[in-house]
């Protein structure tokens, strides 16, 4: 008998008399703090976890990003995929900042100073970005370089986790990454250190 059969048989035998409750409907999604508009809530939650939020006007996102990266002396950027980043790529190149394309091998991204990606959704409840890998390449660019800039359209803000999970396309994308602030640890004497394996700085540009 295969391990599969063995395990399933054990489970079936164990549950012969089991009467579990019916599956409750999905989530009680009372958003934790319901006051305020989505963008304000998103910004507040993002800042509370150490992320930065730049509120760019319509069409001004690319310039805002380039200004910020230039101020931080960034010289090489790993670009994620997606049409909205074309303007950003062009602006970066005009500024003399080198760009690695989304098709670059992830191992090459270790030399980049920053990663710039799209974010498909934002969650106001927690200040979280939702990166859908079917929609655009972003996994390595948002992880490997020490600075991550995410371009989030403000009409893509959702109230809470339930809304975000419901919003995911079907079939579910092969990789969905939720990002809430920069990477962190408290493993050494409980002292908070920001910037471990993921980025140390997270900047969300609301466009």
């Amino acid at each position: 008998m295969s391990a599969r059969e063995q395990i399933l048989q054990r489970v079936r035998a164990a549950l012969a008399d089991a009467a579990g409750p019916p599956l409750p409907p999905p989530s009680i999604s009372a958003a934790v703090d319901a006051a305020g508009d989505l963008a304000e809530r998103f910004k507040a939650r993002l800042q509370a976890v150490g992320g930065e939020c730049i509120d760019a006007g319509h069409g001004a996102a690319a310039d805002a990003i380039v200004e910020r990266l230039a101020a931080l002396a960034v010289r090489t950027v790993a670009l994620g995929g997606g049409d909205e980043l074309r303007a950003v790529a062009a602006a970066l190149q005009r500024r003399g900042i080198a760009c690695l394309p989304p098709t670059a091998a992830p191992a090459d991204l270790f030399a980049a100073d920053a990663g710039v990606t799209q974010a498909q959704w934002g969650i106001a409840e927690t200040g979280t970005l939702v990166l859908d890998a079917d929609a655009a390449t972003a996994r390595a660019a948002s992880l490997v370089p020490p600075l991550h800039v995410a371009l989030l359209p403000r009409d893509r803000l959702l109230p809470d986790l339930d809304a975000a999970l419901a919003q995911l396309p079907q079939p579910v994308p092969h990789a969905v990454t939720l990002v809430t602030g920069p990477s962190r640890t408290a493993d050494i004497e409980l002292q908070l250190v920001v910037g471990v394996h993921g980025p140390r700085t997270l900047i969300v540009v609301l466009a």
């Binding site: 054990r10 599956l23 079917d134 996994r139 079939p171 250190v193």
Partner: protein
């Protein structure tokens, strides 16, 4: 090779732990901090109790229908290109993972923090197969370098001072031994980045598995799990069969409960929901994704309702932080991958009742664990159930002679309490022996044990029932 202390000697391990003031101070700081943060998070989340009920209902439903959800998961995952393996026990799981690593030509694998992989002893098994498994969670890496086992579910190296960690990381990376936490972290980051960049295989666990979509969910703060699941071309996840939830939507309530319960965070920094290897259209991510579904004793806990509830555990660590015993002795004393209150009830079942026979008794039954458990596991109920199992075990569980003595003592107690006359005789006898109490206290175990650290109460010269007789 890192080894656990023997769980059979919890009593001695605990004594040793009590004699380590530095460790006790670190333990106190950690458990107090997490307790305070959890309380603060709950203040901001008035719906918390409703979430707990909801989460428990989901788990109860899944566990009562586990075979159906396992089959559903396998079908959905396979349809997305995941290779699903089944492992009846630890040895089988290790063989599967080693086989995958060998087939990938890997001499090194990078690992994210996974208690399930510790449970099966994966690192040792891989080492025996000539494969080096590098822990990448900072605390886990420190513990691995120190050749120890984790001390706490969430902060594995919390028992170590910065100076001790500095010494360990100095040897591994050359960083100054007296560097501060930030520099030490930076040094670890640099050293492990090299591993991430070159590893062909990443091994993780999973916090949850979604039956409807064949997805797995991994929560973390550092980013190392994302590294292990994005850069290597092969990703293997070892997942206990109890980790299933039915639908993607069901993840929300658990995402609300786990971080708040464990560390007081509203959400951990990263969640990765992974469904299959990279499709042809993607340019990054593993080309092979394997999920190893692990039994290893979990099916033993399924038949009875009282034990099945422990499979609802989401490994948040809240019960550890709240437990007055864990707060004093820490994680090593339990001698198990799973310490603290939840460890005391699942170790006897996953590992062996005989070896773990002390653990259900290492509790004052205060119930703080049940108070904080996000899925409302009634740990005290389970502790009592396991105590009865141990006392009723025959030769299968070592220590039979001692148990027979205890059984005799309790039979005598029950006999004495069974009727008023016997009670009067028994208590009169004890009262008569009161004169020899100072002598007895040094020699008779229950009394001498009390006497370690406490003055002994004396029996009242006249019991209440005599005084009641004489009331005006």
């Amino acid at each position: 090779m890192s080894e656990h202390l023997p769980m059979e000697r919890f009593d001695r391990n605990a004594l040793d732990a009590l004699a380590m003031p530095g460790q006790r101070a670190a333990l106190r700081a950690a458990t107090e901090l997490f307790g305070e943060r959890r309380a603060a998070a709950l203040q901001r989340a008035p719906a918390f109790d409703a979430w707990r009920d909801h989460a428990r209902a989901v788990k109860d439903h899944v566990l009562a229908n586990l075979h159906r959800y396992l089959e559903q998961f396998e079908a959905a995952a396979t349809a997305r290109g995941t290779r699903v393996h089944w492992a009846a026990d630890a040895a089988m799981a290790c063989d599967i993972v080693a086989g995958i690593a060998r087939a990938a030509g890997a001499r090194t694998v990078v690992k994210s923090k996974s208690m399930t992989t510790e449970e099966i002893g994966l690192n040792d098994a891989l080492a025996a197969a000539g494969i080096d498994a590098v822990e990448t969670d900072l605390g886990e890496w420190i513990v691995q370098l120190a050749r120890e086992v984790p001390f706490h579910i969430v902060v594995p190296a919390i028992h170590k001072t910065r100076a001790q960690i500095g010494t360990i990381l100095h040897a591994a990376t050359g960083v100054a031994a007296d560097a501060d936490a930030r520099e030490l972290t930076r040094a670890a980051r640099a050293a492990l980045r090299e591993r991430f960049r070159t590893a062909a295989v990443g091994v993780t666990g999973a916090n949850f598995a979604v039956a409807a979509t064949g997805s797995i969910l991994i929560l973390e703060n550092e980013g190392n799990a994302r590294m292990c699941t994005t850069l290597p071309r092969v990703h293997v996840a070892v997942v206990g069969i109890e980790k299933l939830v039915p639908r993607l939507q069901d993840l929300a309530v658990f995402l609300r409960l786990l971080p708040r319960s464990g560390t007081g965070q509203d959400l951990t920094t990263y969640q990765s929901i992974l469904t299959g290897p990279r499709p042809a259209s993607a340019s990054e991510g593993p080309t092979e994704l394997h999920v190893v579904l692990l039994d290893n004793g979990r099916t033993r806990m399924l038949p009875q309702r009282v034990t099945r509830q422990a499979l609802a555990c989401i490994r948040c660590g809240a019960c550890l932080n709240a437990c007055p015993v864990y707060q004093q002795v820490g994680g090593h004393a339990y001698g198990s991958v799973y310490p603290g209150p939840i460890g005391a009830v699942i170790t006897p079942q996953l590992v062996d009742l005989g070896r773990a026979r002390q653990l259900p008794f290492a509790s004052s039954l205060c119930g703080a664990c049940r108070d904080v458990c996000p899925v409302r596991i009634d740990i005290p109920e389970l502790l009592l159930h396991l105590r009865a199992e141990v006392t009723q075990a025959g030769g299968a569980v070592p220590g039979g002679a001692r148990r027979r003595l205890q059984a005799l003592a309790f039979a005598a107690f029950a006999f004495a309490m069974a009727g008023p006359r016997r009670y009067r005789v028994a208590t009169a006898l004890v009262r008569a022996a009161d004169r020899w109490l100072p002598w007895l206290v040094r020699r008779l175990p229950p009394l001498s044990h009390w006497h370690r650290g406490r003055e002994l109460p004396r029996l009242a010269r006249r019991p209440f029932r005599a005084l009641w007789q004489e009331r005006p």
